[in-house]
């Protein structure tokens, strides 16, 4: 009887998923409620977890709870520690959740809500969660080895080196793009700039508090820090209204970019306990809290989606970034559907904390589903705005016109009516001077979140507070990524340079630390500054570059996963990783090819460089702008070169992997996996 009932429940969930997906896919011309998206995603995730993930766990990788995990065998009270699966689930989710799943869907909403939503759901269930799960499993069976180490051992030395180099390059682009998101969100916003500036002395205070006054009291210290940050948001409003202080915190995008670059250098060279670690604790708690509140807010408010299922920009003429749905929707939404960076986390701390092999299922697969759900919430937050407002906020001046009147005329001509007075009123209500040309995704996400939060509690009177709370929340963990990423990039560079000159490899040698920090900061700082000076807003160039890079890293992770499955003699199930790998290779190589060689100047780097060169030679550009135009030409050529380097690196690892697969399948190479030996687990499930 119970079995029949369980079958009926799953049939009902499947019908529910089909109905909800059908409703959001087939609805045209009417506004739909956001709960359709929530229900479609939730039902599909539950089905994916119950059937697909369990199939992979049982039939493909054959998780075995009798086998002791590295956490049990190597338990040392530090890194290796058997941990409760739900605690580890929260830990892993906090580590993989970054700004990517929040910003990507907001940008991809320019195609309408449907393409991004479908990709978020299917990409996560069939690709992203599988990648995270299989890599977590592989690392767990290899005593917590990193992706680079596994690539070196399972594929070859070339694969390992290429993986390391790719991660370093991707990190540089990632840091530039997330810094650009913060710069665009804070430019011309004294309230936001003050609030974010205030988080730095607050973090330093927290660092000193933890180090000297109340050592070990992290939760207590974070609570104090959180209250101080909330106080900073309230004071920020007064600062913005002050005749004296307001202008001091009203900075241009270029000035903010320089400030972030200088900050990045010092933050990476300062002791971690002083600034980075306390802010990281704070940002982790705020991040989890806000995601939880947003989910509650959406369920409570049940807002209607104002953006249509598809917009006219599916043809590739979108103002936020140029390019058609295929392939650009799939690289714009990276982290919410499939993200290569997750493979670094799945082969980092998490495999060292898994108590039982079966826990890899909820931790690896389940966490990615939750991350995808965050992406769905970001998509909803973007789509609850009227389309005219959404495009006015996110479109750069170079596309819609340099004055508000020109911008609203252009956007209205697209069929998305919006007025200057309406935008002014909206800006005034959230305490901003203007909301035009705020490309980058963060301001429109903050507007959507503020709208949902204000309707959940506090009303319109508090919308300004909620808007800046959302900006603070995004900037807080983006700055933490910048600090930590610069530091990690420095370590990687030192690791590489240590082979050339041993002193450069020592992390305690100050000249080496300063020199390598400067190289990493200048590398991402250059791309950031280039984005700020770009007349198309920078996001048009940098976000696709980041998406391509991230998805190529996912391709490397899936190459490693596929190799391991073949070596495990699971060739009949190799499609589980090979299909997402094939899809990613097609998408990313098409996107990278178009970004380099498309004849459309808004898409292709070479075409844009050629157009600018032709304009320069024909005298169409004023003599005063010659130097700036030459810089833009150089930047386009550099972006094209970076894109080509990514393609070549991944092609190398792909060919190397294919060579290994063919050799194993033809019997020319042994299929021995490099796993840790089997040891019988002594840990009882109750003991965890």
């Amino acid at each position: 009887m119970k079995k029949v009932l369980a079958h009926l429940v799953w049939v009902a969930v499947a019908i529910g998923a089909a109905l909800c997906l059908g409703a959001i896919a087939l609805n045209r011309g009417e506004h739909i409620n956001s709960l359709w998206l929530v229900a479609a995603a939730a039902c599909t995730y539950v089905l994916g977890f119950r059937f697909y993930a369990k199939f992979i766990a049982a039939r493909v990788i054959m998780l075995n709870d009798q086998r002791a995990t590295p956490a049990e065998r190597l338990e040392n009270g530090h890194d290796f520690e058997p941990t409760n699966k739900w605690i580890l689930f929260g830990h892993h989710f906090a580590a993989i959740a970054g700004p990517g799943p929040l910003v990507g869907p907001v940008l991809a909403a320019q195609f309408g809500y449907l393409p991004g939503t479908l990709w978020l759901i299917t990409g996560a269930v069939l690709g992203g969660a599988v990648q995270d799960f299989v890599i977590l499993f592989a690392s767990m069976r290899r005593d917590g080895k990193s992706l680079g180490q596994m690539a070196r051992e399972e594929i070859g030395k070339v694969g390992g080196f290429v993986a390391l180099l790719t991660v370093l390059l991707i990190m540089i682009i990632l840091l530039a793009v997330v810094a650009l998101v913060v710069v665009n969100a804070l430019s011309g916003s004294p309230w936001g700039t003050f609030t974010i500036a205030a988080t730095m002395p607050i973090a330093i205070f927290m660092g000193l508090y933890l180090r000297y006054w109340r050592p070990g009291k992290v939760l207590e210290c974070s609570l104090i820090g959180f209250l101080l940050v909330l106080g900073g948001i309230f004071v920020g409003q007064k600062v913005a209204e002050s005749v004296t202080w307001g202008p001091a915190f009203t900075l241009s995008a270029a000035a903010l970019a320089v400030a972030v670059i200088i900050y990045g250098f010092f933050a990476s060279a300062l002791p971690v306990w002083l600034l980075l670690a306390p802010r990281d604790y704070l940002s982790t708690f705020v991040k989890l809290g806000v995601i939880f509140l947003l989910a509650l807010g959406i369920v409570f408010v049940r807002p209607q989606l104002e953006l249509p299922a598809f917009t006219r920009f599916t043809d590739g003429t979108g103002p936020i970034f140029a390019g058609k749905i295929f392939p650009f929707c799939f690289i714009t939404i990276a982290c919410g559907a499939i993200s290569g960076f997750h493979a670094l986390i799945s082969s980092g701390t998490t495999p060292k904390m898994i108590a039982k092999e079966s826990h890899a299922l909820p931790v690896g697969y389940g966490s990615m589903l939750l991350e995808s759900f965050v992406g769905i919430m970001a998509m909803i937050a973007a789509c609850v705005m009227r389309p005219g407002i959404y495009f006015a906020v996110n479109s750069p001046a170079g596309i819609v016109g340099a004055t508000p009147a020109a911008a609203v005329a252009t956007i209205t001509s697209w069929g998305f009516p919006v007025g200057v007075s309406e935008m002014q009123e909206l800006a005034r209500s959230v305490g901003e001077q203007t909301l035009f040309y705020r490309a980058g995704g963060a301001p429109s996400l903050a507007l959507g979140m503020a709208h949902i939060f204000a309707r959940s509690g506090g009303g319109q009177a508090l919308i300004g507070f909620w808007y800046h709370f959302a900006i603070m929340f995004e900037a807080l963990f983006i700055l933490t990524i910048i600090d930590a990423g610069t530091r990690v990039g420095r370590f990687m560079l030192q690791d590489l340079l240590g082979h050339v000159h041993p002193a450069l490899g020592r992390t305690s040698w100050m000249p080496g630390v300063i020199a390598t920090s400067a190289v990493i900061v200048l590398a991402w700082g250059y791309f950031l500054y280039q984005g700020v000076r770009d007349p198309l807003g920078g996001i048009n160039t940098l976000w696709p570059l980041f998406g391509i890079a991230n998805q190529l890293l996912a391709a490397i992770a899936l190459c490693v996963a596929t190799t391991i499955l073949i070596k495990m003699h699971r060739t009949r199930y190799v499609w589980i990783t090979a299909l997402p790998l094939g899809w990613l290779v097609i998408v990313t190589f098409t996107a990278a090819w178009l970004k380099v060689f498309s004849p459309v100047p808004r898409i292709g780097f070479l075409a844009q460089a050629g157009q600018l060169q032709a304009a320069l030679e024909s005298g169409a550009i004023a003599a005063t702008r010659t130097a700036q135009t030459n810089t833009l030409i150089f930047n386009n050529l550099l972006d094209a070169a970076v894109c080509c380097v990514f393609m070549i690196l991944v092609a190398v690892i792909l060919v190397d992997s294919l060579r290994v697969w063919i050799a194993i399948l033809r019997g020319r190479r042994s299929a021995a996996v490099v796993e840790a030996p089997f040891v019988l687990s002594q840990l009882s499930p109750e003991g965890v």
């Binding site: 830990h91 992290v218 306990w273 986390i345 930590a484």
Partner: protein, 70 residues
């Protein structure tokens, strides 16, 4: 009737207490407070400012030598 009330009270407690306990445990894990307790237990040491600094330096060094996710 009294028994029913007791069962309802137990359910209500479970509904409120378990998520609260889980949240607190998660926060302690994320804040490294639990890891510090494990460190003290594993090395049979008592809490002190110096001990926390040693633990924290070791843990943060490992934590920030790995990439943070986007």
């Amino acid at each position: 009737m009294r028994r029913l009330a007791r069962v309802a009270e137990a359910y209500r407690l479970a509904l409120v207490c378990q998520p609260a306990r889980f949240t607190l445990e998660l926060l302690r894990e994320l804040s490294d407070e639990r890891a510090y307790q494990r460190h003290l237990a594993a090395h049979e040491r008592a809490h002190s400012a110096e001990e926390w600094r040693n633990f924290s330096d070791h843990r943060l060094k490992a934590k920030y030598s790995r990439a943070k996710c986007c």
